[in-house]
């Protein structure tokens, strides 16, 4: 019985983590934290889009800027499609727009990573609190 409950808990944590990665803020939404979910979604998507607006989709480049790409992919796995479009579409960006765009998109990815970890921790805490009651 306890093992089954533990399995369920692990599945919940994984679901929250994966959902948070798929759509920023979705993990909070599952945990019925709607305000938090909306704030996180709007802010992260806006920051990411601002980065793309400044530097174009060429700032997401898995070949020439691998380190930034690791941070950018934390926004959502869908960023991979942008990376493919950049590589195959031959989009290019240099200089300051590239710098600013990469900083914006990378920071939004890292902020989403913070939210993923926080949502998973929140899900874990709730179970612990329920068990303690």
């Amino acid at each position: 019985m306890a093992a089954r409950s533990k399995d369920k808990h692990t599945v919940l944590l994984l679901t929250v983590g994966l959902l948070s990665w798929l759509v920023p803020g979705a993990g909070y939404y599952v945990l019925k934290e709607k305000k938090r979910a909306i704030i996180v979604f709007v802010t992260i998507v806006l920051t990411f889009c601002t980065g793309l607006y400044i530097g174009s989709i060429a700032v997401v480049n898995p070949q020439t800027s691998k380190l930034a790409y690791v941070a950018q992919i934390m926004n959502s796995p869908m960023v991979r499609f942008l990376g493919n479009s950049t590589v195959h579409g031959g989009y290019k960006v240099y200089g300051k727009p590239n710098e600013v765009g990469q900083i914006y998109t990378s920071i939004s990815g890292l902020l989403n990573l913070l939210c993923i970890v926080n949502a998973v921790y929140l899900a874990h805490l709730r179970r612990t609190e329920t068990a303690g009651d």
């Binding site: 400044i54 300051k96 902020l111």
Partner: protein
Amino acid sequence: MELISAFVIATFTTPENVGVNPQSILWLLPLAGAIAVVYKATKVPKIKAVSFLKESLLLFGSIVVFMLVTALVLFALTWLITQ
């Protein structure tokens, strides 16, 4: 409709003109705002509009002030070295 779609796609496939000038530092402001909002969204136990805005603004202000202080220190250091 097609024209609007083409315009939207074009804005994301061509980079903006960001000059290498002191004004380009202002690009840090929206980013600092985003960092403050998301960080506070993960930290506050209950989200209430007024207190959340107040806390986010406070953090945003702290980030900007810290950046200004850092810039001033670096500027003073550069001035001392080059004099």
